[in-house]
Symmetry: D2
Subunit: 340 residues, 4 copies
Amino acid sequence: MIVVIKQNVPKERIDRLIHRIEGMGLSIHYSEGSSTTILGLLGDTSRIDERTLLADDSVEYVRRVTEPYKAVNRKMHPNDTVLEVAGRKIGEGYFNVFAGPCSVESEEQILMVAEAVKNAGASFLRGGAFKPRTSPYSFQGMEAEGLKLLMEAKRQTGLPIVTEIMSEKHLDLFADVDIIQLGARNMQNFMLLKELGRSKKPILMKRGLSATMEEFLMAAEYIYAGGNENVILCERGIRTFEPMIRNNLDVSAVPLVKTHSHLPIMIDPSHAAGRRDMVAPLSRAAIAIGADGLMIEVHNNPKCALCDGAQSLDLYQFTSTMEDIKKRVAFEGRELQTAL
Amino acid sequence: MIVVIKQNVPKERIDRLIHRIEGMGLSIHYSEGSSTTILGLLGDTSRIDERTLLADDSVEYVRRVTEPYKAVNRKMHPNDTVLEVAGRKIGEGYFNVFAGPCSVESEEQILMVAEAVKNAGASFLRGGAFKPRTSPYSFQGMEAEGLKLLMEAKRQTGLPIVTEIMSEKHLDLFADVDIIQLGARNMQNFMLLKELGRSKKPILMKRGLSATMEEFLMAAEYIYAGGNENVILCERGIRTFEPMIRNNLDVSAVPLVKTHSHLPIMIDPSHAAGRRDMVAPLSRAAIAIGADGLMIEVHNNPKCALCDGAQSLDLYQFTSTMEDIKKRVAFEGRELQTAL
Amino acid sequence: MIVVIKQNVPKERIDRLIHRIEGMGLSIHYSEGSSTTILGLLGDTSRIDERTLLADDSVEYVRRVTEPYKAVNRKMHPNDTVLEVAGRKIGEGYFNVFAGPCSVESEEQILMVAEAVKNAGASFLRGGAFKPRTSPYSFQGMEAEGLKLLMEAKRQTGLPIVTEIMSEKHLDLFADVDIIQLGARNMQNFMLLKELGRSKKPILMKRGLSATMEEFLMAAEYIYAGGNENVILCERGIRTFEPMIRNNLDVSAVPLVKTHSHLPIMIDPSHAAGRRDMVAPLSRAAIAIGADGLMIEVHNNPKCALCDGAQSLDLYQFTSTMEDIKKRVAFEGRELQTAL
Amino acid sequence: MIVVIKQNVPKERIDRLIHRIEGMGLSIHYSEGSSTTILGLLGDTSRIDERTLLADDSVEYVRRVTEPYKAVNRKMHPNDTVLEVAGRKIGEGYFNVFAGPCSVESEEQILMVAEAVKNAGASFLRGGAFKPRTSPYSFQGMEAEGLKLLMEAKRQTGLPIVTEIMSEKHLDLFADVDIIQLGARNMQNFMLLKELGRSKKPILMKRGLSATMEEFLMAAEYIYAGGNENVILCERGIRTFEPMIRNNLDVSAVPLVKTHSHLPIMIDPSHAAGRRDMVAPLSRAAIAIGADGLMIEVHNNPKCALCDGAQSLDLYQFTSTMEDIKKRVAFEGRELQTAL
């Protein structure tokens, strides 16, 4: 349920109204735009009589939100959410490229890639320390040791870090990580979502392989409902019947998220197709359709990568792809975030 | 099987080789690029011994094409195919917008829409006379009468016509149509494909709702195998599990077609999502990823359209979408084809 | 819209009512059950005022049918439709096995298979003369010659024939065929559906690879709307993401069809999985869930079959599978139809 | 890699061989059938030279397992695995029905349902204490309190308990649970899989909504790789394009699992379709195709259920469905496991 406040109502009257609503056992999502202030009422609003709210002089009108996602719903928050993480802005008007290897493999490797992606224009270093692998016999990542190497790469390059969490019990290890990634296979790991909701860390949440848009937004709602409003969505391809590529990038997700939610949404073209030659064309489509950023796998030596080599760009390919990306981001009138 | 000819081999020696190969019961797809001439051998090549071909002095090398699509395979024809239809070029370097109503409904309607889309920058008028409808009780199109109205619109505006065929027995009625559209539900109507192969008309072939890329190219191969080399592919969304939109536009189809085939490929953003608000963003993605054109539904009064009103742009929306399209096509360095 | 007639209303009064409704421009689907007579009104019923029908003394009540499928809707016809074709009953209470090779390949082959499937307990001989093939270079069937061989097999064994049509222009060739099969790829070939509606031949209509249940029933509605009430549905697997099998047999289709329609539905386990070893287990599931029959591919020498050998049973395998089928059909209390 | 032991080799020589192989850094899956003993070698077998194994006199032959699933592969263990849990046998030859409510809601409710399903013939009581819900605002289960009520129901009825775990940190709470269920959305929650591998509890692992068969078996491989060989698979419907039902039950999963693995597989017809009227027909198909059991939702008052009421049978419906199930299980020659 949203309560739209009349224009020019003094702050103390709004506060009084908020206090009254909280007394009804609800919590409030407060959204102040340039001309409109909206109170989003979260919790069981079914027993609230709209007339008791309308009776308040501050209230312009009251509307129920029929979608199951409430806090992440654009109706609750008409303006785009723009996050600020480690000095970079993420969301409408800004464009970020998160780049780095699928897995951290060694100090030498991560430092070399970090330096290269920084120079090419990436704003964040991505790299996996805990790796979700289909097989228990595959390399499972360097784990805590990998996180340390990422921190060393951050120290040396100044690039903030994005890396994936696989269990709530590792949360303490992620204290210095800038953005915690939640993988596609954990999008509906509800216990982990709840823990991430209790954290205040920015969360990059990937869409499940066959998650509907509603399920995608509901997973973000879990994080919001826990009190964490720092969520970035990421589309990474959906599972279909096509054997030529690993997944089909669903570019429709971008305008659908923009219509129904205020959250930023990025695109991962590397995992989508699982093919190096698709990264550049899918990136172009992503920028044009309005994605807020890209997440690209880059490796110093893709042929020898311990994971996902077939989809990784080498340092040279990434640099030249970034040249194209820069021109396109400028064409769209957006500001590329880079190393500071 | 492809036979690559040595450089500077005189034409008569190539002709002699062709004659010899035809004598083996095969037909030839001839492709002459700036530096390479390639003979594509079509038919049952399993009994051909490569050595008998290599023994010919004109032959540089011989390679078997493992994919089941042969004539439409880029290996047979390394350069992009560019068609010329009614004075417009279709394919690499050029960009076309086919626009018009889902159905021809009346002379007044089609003339009004034709005039508007011409002025906005469309190169072809699309409009349905024979309509494939899920229900036998829905409006089935104006049929032969609709084709006549399209011809009248062509006479008055000079716009060439794209319209859908639903049965081989109607082929004579399509004699003055510029491009015959084959609908998604008929992509594997093999008898119709064979008839279209015997025709010389350019064919706009839509991808089936759940056709793999290989099946898509194999359907085009049917038309080629019949002798018609004027095929334009069109991606229009694939069926998935997502209920918010009718279909998910599969932009990956564009780079995949460009990699594996030499045929032009357009995108239909209107049918893909089935929602008017998705047409502009999907069009942007299509242009950026390298599609050779767009097919957009436009109606003078979408609310009263006899079919697919929810996805049709009105004349004003189309005109403003075209302004955006023109800038993007120019940015990509491609030449927009328009009314002559 | 359905009109339920009061009990014990004399026939002439019902006829008068029918005459009156036809005068409104509608056609009637008449269904007489043991205790209830129902008139199904087909056509544009939106302008009919229910009260003018309720005013008739014969009318018990009137109800609008909200589903887009009308004539094939169970609401129009509460009892199961049971067809009688060449002396065999198809539908509730009866069970049929249609068996034979994917393609007719020679007189010797089809006669040998026909004799064997007859002896094993099949009620119809299936065999393809016109073959829908993904590749234009694959064997396309023996066409008219294949139909003649099927007729010869029928003459010698007495087994009626099921074979696939691919174009309305071949309809005359199918005059002596007992059941015309419409293939999955033509399920929404609306022109062919209309022609089959004008025919009086029983039609075995396969579900499209990604057709929803509603689209499946709407395709049958096309045939009914043309005047042909002899339709048998056939589920043959849907396209999903699973690479181990060609398609996933959707057994849910059987209870869904039985709930929403009165038409018989068979299952094709051979095309579903595309693997011989799956035919017997899928057949067991089909019988248990209430399918009205099975369509099984049988070949005298699967290793050398010109098409679909990997999924064909050999004569011995079919005979032993039939032993299992017979026990299960008896367990379900249904009557196996066999050679007469 | 599997090592097949010659017949009549004394146990101590096999032990010596095992010791030698373990010395190479591999672990052993030991499978002793009536006539064959097989050693399954787990770990990185790529550096093992087959000849050094063949040189051992006890060894009949050595074969590499090309599938990525090793320990759960039927090649490692040709006989079906039959588990014994709380005195009931699960696997080939036996048939179990796990029944109970989606959620434990109160002591009265769970006791009433437990008593009823026991009397009807269920062998295990299922009930959710921790509930994975799409919405953070939906009832999340009674959690630890729910587990206590399940234990009370077990004490009073003697029925062992199956209930779902959602986080590795709850594992201690599940000490008295007989079978731990892993939900579809957690099938690739690899950290949880690893913890369940370290446990010795029997695990009922549901297939993810869009998991391929290979991914399904690989998830079971994670549990095996951790040392827990008590895994029961459960197919519960896959996500497709069909809107009439929640998911399409994939009965093909049963013969595919039986071909490629030795693990038992059950079917959950309640979650598959999400419709009460589909439970009985899907159960019939499941029994006929060879599933080792069913998992059915039963509620004393489905209309008021806190979750999934639409798919729950009431006590009367369950009892009559069980009558049908008993006859069918007997027909298949399998032994129904019931209350002791």
